[in-house]
């Protein structure tokens, strides 16, 4: 709690100190500095409400504190499922959107816009409806080889557990990934590739050696965002989970309805910590890659 308090309070205190420095000065220039520090203070208040207030409430609700260890022990499978399904879905989304954006690079502007619109449109389908559509579509004998645990392939144990859930996550977030990667790829200047091609490099070599490293910050950012969105997605998980493949939002949702507050707090804290860790690590990597590219 002290750490969380310090984390929230220190930036606000610095903002207030910034305000105090300019308080005594009267002319117009400092007036704008004063209003800026007021805005910083208000922004800190918003940050305090979300996410720190939620985390503080979860920490205060965990009575006794060792319940965190017990909950981890009981829900070990759900924690693993969350990490595995989110990672698999994020990897697929990033890879597919990268390949799609690469495939559209040489299309005309009109074709690019049409394809992008077509890929964005499924976003306007609510996740609940998407889940029902996926269940109706994949619940047929033709997909037994993929979803049935006795399908005869080495992957069937995994696909029976996570297959439909990962497909749901990919369906949900692929439009976001496509827009993100397409925008990032459009920002890569064409003359870099032309310079590489003029030195006799093959097109694929130019793509791997020049374009891909320039896109790494965007790839990292997209992976982090999709991972966090998949890990906390509830609407799809409620309908698409299979026995043995439940992710953390489902026990949180179910236990909240039966009033198990301490367990819910411990699980929520675990889920928030998982997502925040992935986001923070990949954000650092993103910033590092961006500064490295700028430096180069």
């Amino acid at each position: 709690m002290i750490f969380l308090g310090a984390l929230c309070f220190l930036p606000a205190w610095r903002a207030l100190r910034f305000y105090r420095v300019f308080e005594s000065v009267k002319d117009g220039h400092e007036k704008s500095a004063r209003s800026s520090s007021t805005l910083i203070g208000l922004a800190m208040l918003i940050f305090l409400c979300s996410p720190f207030a939620s985390i503080a409430i979860f920490v205060s609700q965990m009575q006794p504190p060792q319940i965190l260890g017990e909950v981890w022990e009981v829900n070990r499978e759900e924690i693993f499922n969350t990490v595995f399904a989110s990672s698999a879905a994020a990897l697929i989304v990033v890879g597919t959107s990268f390949l799609l954006a690469a495939a559209w690079r040489e299309y005309s502007l009109y074709a690019q816009r049409t394809l992008l619109t077509l890929f964005i449109l499924p976003v306007f389908c609510a996740p609940i409806m998407l889940a029902i559509a996926l269940l109706n579509f994949y619940n047929r004998a033709g997909f037994d080889w993929f979803f049935n645990s006795d399908g005869g392939f080495f992957w069937n144990d995994w696909t029976a557990r996570y297959g439909l859930l990962v497909i749901g996550f990919v369906c949900r977030f692929l439009p976001l990934g496509t827009v993100w990667m397409f925008d990032a790829m459009r920002r890569v200047p064409k003359n870099y590739e032309e310079a590489g091609a003029s030195m006799g490099a093959a097109k694929s070599r130019v793509f791997v050696a020049i374009v891909t490293p320039l896109l790494l910050p965007s790839v990292t950012g997209l992976f982090a965002v999709v991972w966090a969105l998949c890990a906390t997605e509830l609407s799809l998980s409620v309908l698409l989970n299979s026995p043995g493949g439940q992710t953390l939002p489902i026990p949180i949702f179910n236990q909240m309805h039966i009033g198990a507050t301490a367990q819910v707090a411990a699980l929520s804290l675990t889920l928030a910590a998982l997502s925040a860790t992935v986001l923070a690590l990949l954000l650092l990597l993103f910033l590092k890659l961006r500064f490295k590219l700028r430096g180069a």
Binding site: S50, P51, T232, F253, A272
Partner: protein
């Protein structure tokens, strides 16, 4: 267009595969539903319109929840964006702090709110009976919770738009007016498209959100769908029995 035939084939196949993957389940669901209703009981189409009491309540709840969430997210996001857009020593901290709410899903935020206020969750109060009408208070509770989860979307969009406005425009306007007038008459109209777009995204996400409104007793379309289709996880069980 792609230069070689292989490139064209690769891109055409990959794009078509992606489109089929995204659209096939939706087209099948909507097509089957439309076919079934139009062949068996066309009068059921009227249930989709907010005429009967229950669809009307669901429609207005969903509408007001999304509008209020978007409005609040615009206020919160606007304040945070003004910090993000400035190149100050707080910028990196503000970016990190603004990313963190993405780790708290609306369900977790609603859970925290219920734990803080010690209110029972909606389903425990048996509020999902079909004849109940919702009190407006639950919308006023759910909207701030959703806005506090989704404001980073508005903040990042507005900050990017604010940074894209050339400083010369602002400087020129400042020669003739005070900062408030400059913000209201010059900057805000330029930011309006970004503000409306991001508020629209927040409204849409709020409209679709199921976990938080369900816990907070704000009965929207999503909550109603889940109340009808998944109280006993009928779909998952059926699917699993078939595949096992």
């Amino acid at each position: 267009m792609p230069r070689s035939r292989f490139d064209f084939l690769y891109s055409a196949c990959f794009t078509t595969g992606g489109l089929c993957f995204l659209y096939a389940p939706l087209i099948q669901l909507l097509g089957a539903a439309l076919w079934e209703i139009s062949t068996t009981n066309p009068a059921r189409f009227l249930e989709a319109f907010p005429i009967a009491p229950l669809p009307r309540v669901l429609f207005w709840n969903t509408f007001w929840l999304s509008i209020l969430s978007a409005f609040l997210a615009l206020i919160f996001g606007g304040i945070v964006a003004s910090v993000l857009a400035r190149r100050s020593r707080f910028q990196i901290s503000a970016i990190v702090l603004c990313v963190l709410p993405l780790a708290i899903s609306p369900t977790l935020a609603a859970t925290a709110f219920l734990a803080w206020t010690r209110l029972p969750p909606a389903r425990a109060a048996a509020s999902l009976a079909a004849t109940d009408t919702i009190s407006i208070n639950s919308i006023f509770i759910a909207a701030p919770v959703l806005a506090l989860c989704f404001y980073p979307l508005v903040a990042f969009a507005l900050a990017a738009a604010r940074r894209a406005i050339p400083m010369e425009i602002e400087d020129a306007a400042r020669l003739f007016s005070n900062p408030l007038q400059v913000n209201l008459r010059v900057i805000w109209p330029l930011l309006l498209p970004a503000a409306l777009a991001s508020a629209g995204i927040v409204a849409t996400l709020s409209m679709w959100e199921m976990g938080a409104p369900d816990l907070l007793d704000a009965r929207t379309y999503s909550v109603q769908i889940i109340a009808i289709s998944a109280p006993s996880k009928i779909f998952s069980k059926r699917l699993w029995m078939r595949f096992r």
